[in-house]
């Protein structure tokens, strides 16, 4: 069949694609911020010398690593509002709940992976670094902030970028609950016009370019802040 890129530029297609791409970027960035904040919280909680807190964090991480992401989105979207009182539930359902719950589900999901990446980075810093930091008089917290984390985070950058790329593509799972991100709009246009090749081409190019940009940021960050210690 004829491959017409001009079809993508028509006035009833281009706005849909752009809206979809904007929603994808918005979903990715908000979920990423939730993810990294919760990940630091999890890493902090794991450092608390309490067996029960450690177990709860481990349970959180295992749930988000082992249950399919789309199921987690469904659980948040269909499940969570059910435990709320009827009036609050209806009020929530009237708003933009699709985006909200997809953002929470994806954010928590990626936080579990981010937390493990940061934790592995911290374990890669030799124990003697901590001992040395404490011996020059830094507090436990000071040693964490000034010595341990700066080194650990640099080591964690490649796996964090890797996971961010996966998060970027996982945003497409939100179409299962009707979030109008790029894949959703792609399918909608395809369904209406049957021009599968053109629309899938456009969204492939967008995902590819965005992923390459993310990788570029990662490469820049690694050059700017190289892991100081190679032991």
């Amino acid at each position: 069949m004829d491959f017409q890129l001009s079809f993508l530029m028509s006035s009833n297609v281009l706005p849909l694609l752009l809206q979809g791409a904007a929603t994808t970027v918005r979903l990715f960035s908000t979920a990423w911020i939730i993810g990294i904040l919760v990940a630091f919280l999890l890493v902090g909680l794991r450092a608390v010398p309490n067996r029960w807190i450690g177990r709860i964090v481990a349970l959180f991480v295992e749930y988000h690593r082992n249950v399919p992401t789309v199921v987690q989105i469904m659980v948040w979207y269909f499940g969570m509002p059910e435990i709320l009182p009827q009036d609050i539930k209806l009020w929530i359902n009237r708003g933009d709940t699709e985006f909200l719950f997809a953002m929470i589900a994806l954010g928590l999901n990626v936080s579990a992976f981010f937390a493990e990446d940061i934790r592995s980075g911290m374990r890669a810093v030799p124990h003697t670094q901590l001992e040395a930091a404490r011996s020059i008089g830094l507090s436990a917290f000071g040693a964490l902030i000034y010595v341990l984390l700066p080194q650990a985070l640099r080591i964690s950058v490649p796996p964090l970028i890797n996971r961010s790329l996966i998060l970027f593509k996982d945003t497409s799972l939100a179409m299962a609950i009707g979030v109008a991100e790029l894949s959703y709009q792609t399918k909608a246009i395809e369904n209406l016009s049957f021009r599968s090749l053109e629309v899938f081409f456009a969204s492939t190019v967008f995902y590819l370019l965005a992923s390459l940009a993310l990788m570029g940021i990662g490469a820049w960050f690694s050059r700017r802040f190289p892991p100081a210690f190679k032991g």
């Binding site: 069949m1 004829d2 491959f3 469904m74 979207y77 269909f78 509002p81 059910e82 539930k89 209806l90 359902n93 009237r94 709940t97 699709e98 179409m175 299962a176 609950i177 009707g178 959703y184 399918k187 909608a188 395809e190 369904n191 209406l192 016009s193 049957f194 021009r195 599968s196 090749l197 081409f201 590819l208 390459l212 490469a219």
Partner: protein
Amino acid sequence: MTKKSSLSGKTGKIVALSLLLGSLFSSAAHADVFDDIKARGKLVCGTQNASAPYAYQDPVSRTFVGYDVDMCKELAKALGVALEHHPLSTEARIPELKLGRVDVVAGSMAYLPERAEQVDFSLQYLQGDIKVMVKKKSGIRKLSDLADKKICASKGSSSAAVASRVLTKSQVLTFQDVASCYLGLQSEKVEGFTAGELALKRFEIDSQGKGDPVVLLPEATYAEHIGIVVNKGNPKLLAAINDVIQRLDKTGALTTLYDKWLGEQSIYKLKRKFKVEPVDKAV
């Protein structure tokens, strides 16, 4: 730097791949598929794969049955060739046809002008109403009550394609499948659920006698004109299919099929009202 050169290598490969895909698509349209079917003595006919009563797996016999499957059988019989039946997912119907892996698709596909730019539709062999289902206790009784409400449609369906045009005042969401939509309606995520009358009827029948039944709104939002779909540039095949449909209509076989899957003998108890005519006649 080595990193950079490997990146441009990747882009090059992608360009090459998309060119290859493009050439695959363009090579699909050469001689009339009708001659290929006759030459190989086999019709490859695609249908949906999980869409009762059009084409679905019978839980007892484990074979695919339904209105569209019987339509494929009738087509093959009339053309005097063997039948190879391909059950396809909703999204795969058009790509499979365009890549030439199936000759025709009897996939309960409704005519839309945009779709007709890509493929050719036969005469209509089925017509269906798209309706909206709501909770009985919601107090919604007609389509105009749905303004500013969330309405669900399932992904890839014609109801999703027309919903945003017909229900302009409502917010249309599309979910994964009809089951998700039903769940969304039950858990009050959405206040209406739009789909083909038959799909909705099953849920309506299912919900009777339970605490919170659902009802169909009597007005239809749209009438779907469903035709058999072939690739562009196959006038002989299209004419042959139209001929078969008209003959089935004349002998009463089409009504028999309708009664078997949608009418008297089915759970839907519908009466055949449509005529065999061009799909774009009423639009």
